[in-house]
């Protein structure tokens, strides 16, 4: 088992916040530029995974535990369902746009959806990768 170098450890932990920031940018600007909920969520997940991959065992920090990621994922899903059900009460169809047509900016609904999807995807994929990584790291060190 090759040890991880200091450079890898420091670099991954310093870059991770910027990756997370970029993910948030993608989510919030999804209605105008390429990006959106899923893409931003995946970048968020990679921001969570990067420190786990690069850090050394002695200096590992569990920024978000498996349980909190699981809660985040469920929260994102429930938020999505909730938004869809609001659509039913507003216009009669699941995920219909509840905002009136003259609201400005026009894309509020897409922004909210992007946020919910980004939360779900980021937490979900992050949880998936972190479960495997943490399990293998613990197996290696036992």
């Amino acid at each position: 088992m090759r040890t991880k170098t200091d450079m890898l450890d420091v670099a991954s932990r310093k870059i991770a916040p910027y990756v997370l920031l970029f993910g948030c940018y993608l989510i919030s600007n999804g209605h105008l530029s390429p990006g959106g909920g899923f893409q931003g969520g995946v970048v968020l997940a990679s921001g969570l995974v990067l420190p786990a991959l690069g850090c050394r065992w002695e200096r590992r920090e569990d920024l978000l535990s498996n349980l909190s990621l699981s809660i985040g994922e469920t929260a994102g899903f429930i938020l999505l369902l909730f938004i869809g059900i609001i659509g039913i009460t507003a216009s009669g169809y699941f995920l219909a746009d509840p905002f009136p047509a003259t609201a400005r900016p026009h894309a509020w609904f897409i922004v909210i959806l992007n946020f919910a999807i980004g939360l779900k995807v980021g937490a979900g994929i992050g949880l998936l990768c972190l479960l495997l990584i943490r399990e293998s790291l613990e197996a290696d060190h036992d």
């Binding site: 216009s91 009669g92 169809y93 699941f94 995920l95 219909a96």
Partner: protein
């Protein structure tokens, strides 16, 4: 929103989804009451939806629901028509029987039932969907649920079987997607009805917005009808892999053998048929005669190959799995003939096969679990220990071999009626003989003298068997209903046949009336001869020389690499056929 028309569709899809969510929530609850609750929600919701939609469907109309309010051709449409109605009824029957059988074991917890109901949800989606990309989504949800259901037992074999199914089905669904791409390029839309209309050069009302769909318009102006054949061939490769037709069938025997037997019953009973019904739906809108001809031959060879491989198996569940491959060949051949007789024969056989195959899996599965082994040559004399299961098994085995008064006999009569003018018919006759042979061989596990080590295995109950009275009665109830269905289909075939025709083609007055001789001397003679020939072959297979030959043939099994290469070779052949034959 027109609630009365749309409620059945929504209910039909929401019932299994709600059951799945309740099962998931049940993971955090201390007691196991949620299992029954979720099942009841699914069962009652689906039955109520069928009841609500029955008046419209029996009158020949179909109920439509557009997702999100976007009508065709922009939105996704879901509908219940006659085919969906009867297929959902079969699905509810098989799913209930599988659920009742799974209640025997305590190891099936929240996660199992979540994926079980997600599989049922995606099956429902495949039946209701009228949009080609939506079909892709449902196929993928179905396969994801199946991977987890197949590998539920966590043995090496089940994981390997799930991995094999994963690789094969993912490769083929990518071909399906490429076919969808070509169809989208040609017609600019994804809704099946509009694709069909566009390809048949009937003007349809697309592109009414100011934004133009550049691809669709360009392709329509250029006029590329030949590519539609290629796309249909690609789509069929994707679907036929999931329906387990040769040469794409290699995942099925291992998967059905390694999965827990309620899952096998559901898989063989309905999961391999839903893709066939999806193909039916697609080919309803887009006609392609030469491909149908190829499908008839493919079905015939599939039936023969499946039976040949089944006869030499020593594992009981693998034998049943290869029979599923073979019977899907029957269904494919009947479907290929087309027309009212061919399609109704295919549907009749789909229902019949769902009934007797799930019956067989549920009985053989239970007795092999209790015996501790699945080897057909070593288990004997189980009728003393499981009298009810013996009766149910004999009904199922007789049905699939073509005994009169049972579902398989009438199904085979109908398929013969559809196919008797086609040369591929003789392949199916031979396959019928082989079916009788292998089921005679399989039924020997119930007779004879049990060896001492088996008696020991049978007297000890496995650890996760629940021995409450409810757990022991529940599976028998499911078996009874399915046996009754088999017998019903054999004793009242013309009524059921007329019912199917009415569902497919509308009001009773306008259905084509075809007189089918169900119990004539010719059909009975054919059945009798094939069963007799089958018994002779079976006696040969059980002799030492026969066992030797079987052993050599069994070792010719293809590994994972071989399976993948067969898939690629088969798809190249089918694509070639699609290109040159449109």
């Amino acid at each position: 929103m027109n609630l009365q028309n749309e409620l059945p569709v929504i209910l039909l899809l929401f019932a299994p989804l709600t059951a799945a969510i309740i099962s998931l929530v049940g993971k955090f609850l201390p007691r196991r009451g949620y299992i029954i609750f979720s099942f009841l929600i699914w069962l009652l919701g689906s039955l109520y939806a069928l009841y609500l939609s029955a008046p419209a469907v029996f009158a020949g109309k179909s109920l439509w629901y557009s997702l999100g309010g976007w009508a065709e051709p922009y939105g996704i449409n879901l509908s219940i028509d006659g085919l969906t109605w009867i297929a959902t009824l079969t699905d509810v029957l098989i799913g209930s029987a599988a659920w009742l059988a799974s209640r025997r074991y305590s190891r099936f917890g929240a996660v199992f039932y979540f994926f079980f109901f997600m599989a049922l949800f995606s099956l429902q989606g495949i039946l209701c969907s009228r949009d080609i990309f939506n079909l892709f989504i449902w196929f993928e949800v179905l396969s994801l649920s199946s991977f987890l259901l197949i590998s539920y037992d966590r043995t090496l074999i089940s994981r390997l079987a799930a991995m094999r199914y994963l690789l094969l089905s993912s490769m083929s669904i990518l071909l399906f997607l490429t076919g969808v791409w070509i169809l989208y390029q040609l017609s600019g839309t994804l809704a099946l009805e509009t694709i069909g209309a566009t390809l048949q050069s009937v003007p349809s009302q697309t592109a009414e917005y100011g934004l133009t769909h550049a691809a669709g318009n360009a392709a329509r102006d250029a006029g590329l009808p030949g590519a539609a054949g290629l796309s249909l061939a690609l789509i069929s490769v994707g679907i036929l892999t999931r329906a387990a037709i040769i040469p794409f069938h290699t995942w099925l025997p291992d998967a059905h053998a390694a999965a827990p037997y309620p899952v096998s019953a559901l898989l063989s009973g309905f999961v391999i048929k839903a893709p066939m019904l999806a193909m039916w739906r697609i080919f309803d809108y887009i006609e392609f005669p030469m491909l149908m001809e190829g499908l008839i031959w493919l079905g015939g060879f599939c039936a023969l190959w499946g039976v040949g491989a089944a006869m030499v198996q020593n594992d009981a569940k693998k034998l049943l799995g290869y029979h599923s491959v073979s019977q899907m060949g029957y269904i494919l051949a009947a479907f290929g003939i087309g027309g009212s007789i061919g399609k109704s024969a295919a549907l009749f056989y789909i229902i019949a096969h769902a009934l007797f195959k799930s019956l067989l899996f549920l009985t053989v599965g239970h007795v092999t679990v209790r015996s501790g082994t699945r080897n057909v040559y070593t288990i004997r004399g189980l009728s003393k220990f499981f009298p009810h299961y013996t009766v149910a098994f004999l009904i199922g085995a007789a049905a699939i071999s073509g005994f009169p008064l049972l579902a398989g006999f009438t199904g085979k009569v109908l398929v013969s009626e559809a196919l008797h003018l086609h040369k591929a018919y003789y392949l199916l006759l031979l396959a019928g003989v082989g079916t009788a042979a292998s089921f005679f061989k399989l039924s020997t596990i119930f007779f004879g003298k049990t060896s001492d080590e088996h008696i020991l295995a049978l007297e000890s109950t496995p650890k996760d068997h629940l021995t409450t009275r409810r757990a022991r009665i529940a599976p028998n109830f499911g078996l009874m209903i399915i046996s009754a269905g088999c017998i019903l289909m054999g004793v009242f075939p013309s009524g059921i046949y007329r019912f199917i025709l009415m569902l497919l083609y509308g009001r009773p007055e306008s259905t084509p009336s075809v007189g089918i001789g169900w119990y004539t001397s010719t059909t009975l003679l054919k059945a009798g001869l094939s069963i007799a020939a089958g018994v002779l072959i079976a006696l040969f297979l059980l002799s030492p020389r026969g066992k030797q030959i079987s052993h050599t043939l069994r070792t010719l099994k293809a590994g994972l690499n071989g399976a993948l290469r067969m898939l690629v070779a088969g798809s190249i052949v089918l694509l070639f056929f699609g290109i040159i034959a449109y």
